[in-house]
Symmetry: C2
Subunit: 357 residues, 2 copies
């Protein structure tokens, strides 16, 4: 599994539409999505999946070079429902089609049903004309794994060992699946992720590779915040780990913004589709700058109107000196439950051209 900082041939996103995830019938989030897509499309071929009823609007709002394809979806988290793309022995691109159950199925999943989302990975492989590996008997989301491209996978115990995913598998069996499907040699487990992250604490909101042997870790110095203890435990796990090449990891702290909480007005913009409100006023959202996307020529970083916004950009500029580090105001994406990394999925470059037919 190539690292995200390796060259991409493209990127996949899903046009937002779900009225109980996104404010005001998703119209608020669309502006942020359009800005994000516009930046990515400067250095990558972007494919946006839109439902039949949203197709014309997406086409109208997105640059002409962006490819819009009709595809049904339950929500808009491409990181978690699009395939995980690998290169095979011959350098050709393949997609892994994991099982998807809305982050916990009937145990603690976030919506029901999730069948449209679960079918997207297979369809995207068809649309992109790449072979797929059927791994639908194993529940995994792309946001719960990070790869350094050299045999190391980062993940969290809170997510992968959760009761709503693969409760009958031991940690060893889950490691074995990751080794088998991702070609991984070493799995580094963080105990947890970001406080109140409703994905059961995905890795991609708390820690990310910036280069082989180097990671950023979301960090707070506020010892009164429940997040503090979580950060300390994660830092300790990282410092005690070696990667697949035997290297100790260099850990760069990336400060968190102050707690971001949803307002009454924002809650009122969310429909109630499943008999209970998605969010309640004052609820803390899992805001983190780690949820950035590494495009070919840019690193696109969520911004929250916080005093740490510019500090996060500065740190990432030192870590990605060859890329332009760009902030996108992402509160309207955060309200949906994730951020820039969660709504994108990169397609690595093939190392050879695939023969057709």
């Amino acid at each position: 599994m190539p690292a995200e900082f390796s060259p991409h041939s493209g990127c996949i996103l899903i046009w937002p539409h779900r009225r109980d995830s996104w404010q005001n019938g998703a119209y608020a989030a669309r502006t942020a999505f359009a800005e994000l897509i516009s930046i990515i499309s400067r250095s990558e071929k972007v494919t946006v999946c839109a439902r039949f009823e949203d197709y014309d609007e997406a086409r109208r709002l997105l640059p002409a070079g962006v490819r819009v394809v009709e595809m049904s979806s339950d929500d808009s988290w491409a990181r978690d429902v699009a395939p995980t793309f690998l290169t095979d022995r011959n350098g050709a691109i393949r997609g892994v089609d994991w099982g998807f159950n809305a982050w916990g199925g009937l145990v603690d999943g976030l919506y029901f049903p999730w069948d449209k989302d679960n079918k997207m990975a297979r369809k995207l492989c068809d649309a992109l004309d790449v072979d797929s590996y059927d791994c639908r008997d194993f529940i995994l989301e792309g946001g719960s794994i990070h790869s350094d491209g050299e045999g190391t996978i980062l993940t969290t115990e809170a997510c992968l060992l959760s009761k709503g995913r693969n409760p009958d598998m031991t940690k060893d069996e889950i490691e074995e699946k990751l080794r088998q499907y991702l070609g991984a040699e070493k799995i580094i487990w963080l105990p947890c992720g970001i406080y109140r992250d409703e994905t059961n604490e995905h890795i991609d909101n708390v820690c990310a590779f910036t280069a082989p042997g180097e990671v950023v870790l979301a960090w707070t110095d506020d010892q009164s915040d429940p997040q503090y203890e979580m950060c300390v435990r994660s830092k300790s796990a990282l410092e005690n780990a070696a990667d697949a090449k035997g290297r100790k990891l260099k850990v760069h702290k990336l400060p968190l913004p102050k707690p971001v909480c949803i307002t009454k007005e924002e809650c009122e913009g969310l429909d109630d589709l499943n008999g209970e409100p998605t969010r309640t006023q004052g609820e803390r959202l899992a805001a983190s700058y780690v949820n950035f996307y590494i495009a070919n020529k840019h690193v696109i970083v969520p911004q929250f109107g916080d005093e740490n916004d510019s500090r996060a950009l500065e740190i990432l500029r030192t870590l990605f000196p060859t890329r332009e580090v760009v902030g996108v105001y992402a509160r309207d994406i955060l309200i949906g439950g994730g951020n820039i990394h969660c709504v994108t999925q990169q397609i690595p470059n093939a190392r050879q051209f695939r023969k057709d037919g």
Copy 2:
């Protein structure tokens, strides 16, 4: 506009679903479609558009090498709703997105609404990542034109001058559109097509190029058949015409099958969705062997269980000596209102690779 007998990079079909077009919830036609697709896929990359609700079934019934993409449609006539593909000055593929109004709109169209069909050409260009020409202000179906690849377009007056398509345009203005969008230099007009062809007598059911300067013409010697007079008029038009290169056309007669009429049982398999039955018992269908598809290595010809079935194959074998001429029993496609050519749309080879992004 390249000729159909030029090399293709692929072919588009739409998985049948419409219950008032196709018998038994389209299950009868699916068998014929699957056989047809399987043959085409031996020498062309086939893309099949399936609705969300039909996707899994199409994927299950079709060979793994066939690409199935999710796309909403009103019916399944790829020839008429997919783009007409051209090569531009640089040899790159482009798609023309004609207006589509179900063969006559509110005047004598065959169903309402037709918005899903009308949106497919644009979406297919996106899915295939080719640029499209927006020509939606002009109503045209791919089945109403044939190209010899050398500047000549064949069409019928019955269709292109019909009241339900572009009633405010003169014949000269329509010619001008074809010249402009198809790069045509000469339009050859047949007066009519096949008796009771509900597309207002598309060219692709009555006459087709088999090579530059050569056509097959559907033919009957039965002077008591209303089709006879129509054949004589078309033959005369062809014999009096010269193509874009100034050549007289060589006309090969392709015998028609005996009239094919729908049975009571077949009518009972069609749902009534628009307040009136699609067909009535005994109704004559527009059966013709001319409705074949020229794939890279095959010519696929409808068969009706008629004594002329094998005669049609023999004639086409002499005209396409480098291709395997294959019959497919196509009564279940004919009942839908068209045949093999109507449900396919070829994508010509690009003469260069298109630069991405």
